[in-house]
Assembly symmetry: C2
Homo-oligomer: 351 residues x 2
């Protein structure tokens, strides 16, 4: 497999770096020569020159340019499979609808769900995709060979390939990624005009709720625009529910408020992982640490000695700093063993 | 200071336990004899009997009963100061408005912001309030002596007393606690009807955004009802913003979307702590751990050896399980020292 990666940002350079680490032949290109130089240095990939033949082209350019770059690549590399890494797929496929069957058979959408708060080639890492979902979208035109090549790319990088239709993917990310971003941003925007004396009382709840409001505004504006219709639908539904709750609060309709809270609790349990169906048997062990240096190290050392596998770790915050409260999520079966072991080692186990 | 705590739940029993640990004389009462027995066993407090004279009464009963219990206590203990721990204050003071000046001078509202996902006397802990805000609300009737007594109670328990007016407090918690709860619940409720194949793509973003949707629905319904007007105001404003964004997305008004995202980013930075003004000089060191037992222990051991103080720790999730990505927040001044030390000890530091 000879691969050309177009776009030497965080994702493109990380793909090049990871493929090089696996001994694959990789070329990298970027219209910005500074970015390209950093990407080449970081990844060890070769600079692309016309005439080099590749089997796979990975388009990792900014969202709004992807369709054009994919189209050009498909014509420049008539025997290659073309994939991309954009987080919305419908608009890209719509823009390519007029292409020939041959071109369309070689195009496979991809979405490695591995973004970081950092960006740029210098932040690239070969293990960015390990254990992450890599959504693969095929259309009725896509050939099996093209699909298999992107599956192989994903698994080579340690990711978990997951096939979805273009529509399914865009609806799913509207719900589980784009709408949460909009809600977090709108809620966080309410803090701007609020007195600091109000904001100072903020605890862990709102901190978690609006964490993603710190994301890159320009990038997210692009993402939301490219999935505008699906996101608008979800956001409108949320707005309608909120208006209904506001009315229920004003009219004293407590049951309507309780109903939505119960529904929310039910929805939250559908999330994969600690809260949900897949590891229903999880238990949380809460430990209060003394405010001494090295206590976290001592705790995790003790957990390792207890020979239990931690599913999750959460550290509580208050007044803007860490408290001594640490939640360890483990499977129900070993919770007692962990508790006993921690208590024997002098820790205060709360619940 | 001789204290009577009314209500042997998590908060009441924790207060009794913490006061006993400080050598204070404490009585505990509860209308439910089982709860009382557990609370007495857990805290070591004495059972209340008529005639015992106390200086301070702490009302820690369910929100909807607080005003009545405070009123009764003020008349039963004509020389005592009466405080409570309810999370909304306006409705309580409104219900007590007809009381005499003497009674009102002895009543001080309190709100220790130290809830846990657990409840009941058996989960009580003496250090529940350490480093937590304890909001104290006084009115124009409240005497300085009454206010000082509740300050002393808070500091005795290790909490940080913060004075706010009743109105300020209720407006602040509507914004920073109650509205986030409503938003998280509404967003999470959207998952109930969604196909599991969509929900399975959920990552850390929505997981954080809806974490508090798992809270106790009945308790929260009570809390929201008692702050109905303020919460309805905030929730309506959020609903209006969301409707405007949905319209902007449908009409292709990208600037309007970018504006709200930027405002959200600005609002998020106002939060106290790692994201905000108070510790602006923080840096995040991202470490990727190998998937081997004991790696977390080794990491925190190495951080302790590097002699740096961790301000925050966050562990990334994907596909419902922990990944090897750990974010350590430290002050800017020691970030380089931590990075060098971790790299020297064989860790992969990413950014």
């Amino acid at each position: 497999m000879r691969v050309l990666v177009i776009g030497a940002g965080l994702i493109g350079t990380s793909i090049a770096l990871a493929l090089k680490a696996q001994g694959r032949e990789v070329f990298l290109s970027d219209s910005n020569s500074d970015a390209l130089r950093t990407g080449l240095d970081k990844s060890g990939a070769s600079s692309w020159s016309d005439g080099s033949v590749v089997n796979l082209v990975v388009v990792a350019t900014p969202p709004s340019t992807v369709a054009d770059v994919v189209r050009t690549a498909a014509h420049q590399h008539p025997n290659a499979i073309i994939t991309d890494v954009a987080s919305v797929k419908g608009a890209i496929f719509a823009a390519l609808a007029e292409e020939s069957d041959d071109v369309l058979s070689r195009i496979v959408g991809g979405h490695p769900m591995a973004g970081r708060e950092v960006s740029g080639a210098s932040a690239a890492q070969s293990n960015l995709f390990v254990d992450r979902p890599w959504v693969i979208t095929r259309t009725s035109h896509t050939s099996d060979a093209a699909c298999a090549a992107v599956h192989e790319l994903a698994t080579t990088l340690g990711a978990v390939p997951i096939e979805r239709s273009v529509e399914e993917h865009d609806q799913a990310v509207a719900l589980i990624s784009h709408t949460p971003q909009v809600l977090a941003s709108v809620l966080a925007s309410r803090l701007v005009g609020a007195p600091q004396s109000h904001v100072d009382l903020a605890g862990q709840g709102i901190r978690d709720t609006i964490r993603i409001a710190g994301s890159d505004s320009a990038l997210w504006s692009d993402i939301l625009a490219s999935n505008a219709h699906e996101v608008a639908h979800q956001v409108s539904q949320v707005a309608a529910s909120l208006s209904a709750i506001a009315a229920a609060l004003e009219s004293g309709d407590k049951q309507a408020v309780t109903d939505i809270l119960m529904l929310g609790s039910q929805g939250q349990k559908k999330l994969p992982g600690k809260h949900g169906a897949q590891v229903r048997q999880d238990a949380i062990v809460v430990v209060r640490l003394e405010d001494k240096p090295g206590e976290l190290a001592r705790l995790f050392g003790a957990a390792a000695q207890a020979d239990v596998n931690l599913e999750d770790v959460r550290i509580d915050h208050s007044l803007g700093r860490m408290t001594g409260l640490v939640e360890l999520t483990v499977s129900q079966a070993v919770a007692k063993q962990l508790e006993d072991s921690l208590i024997a080692q002098g820790f205060v186990v709360i619940a």
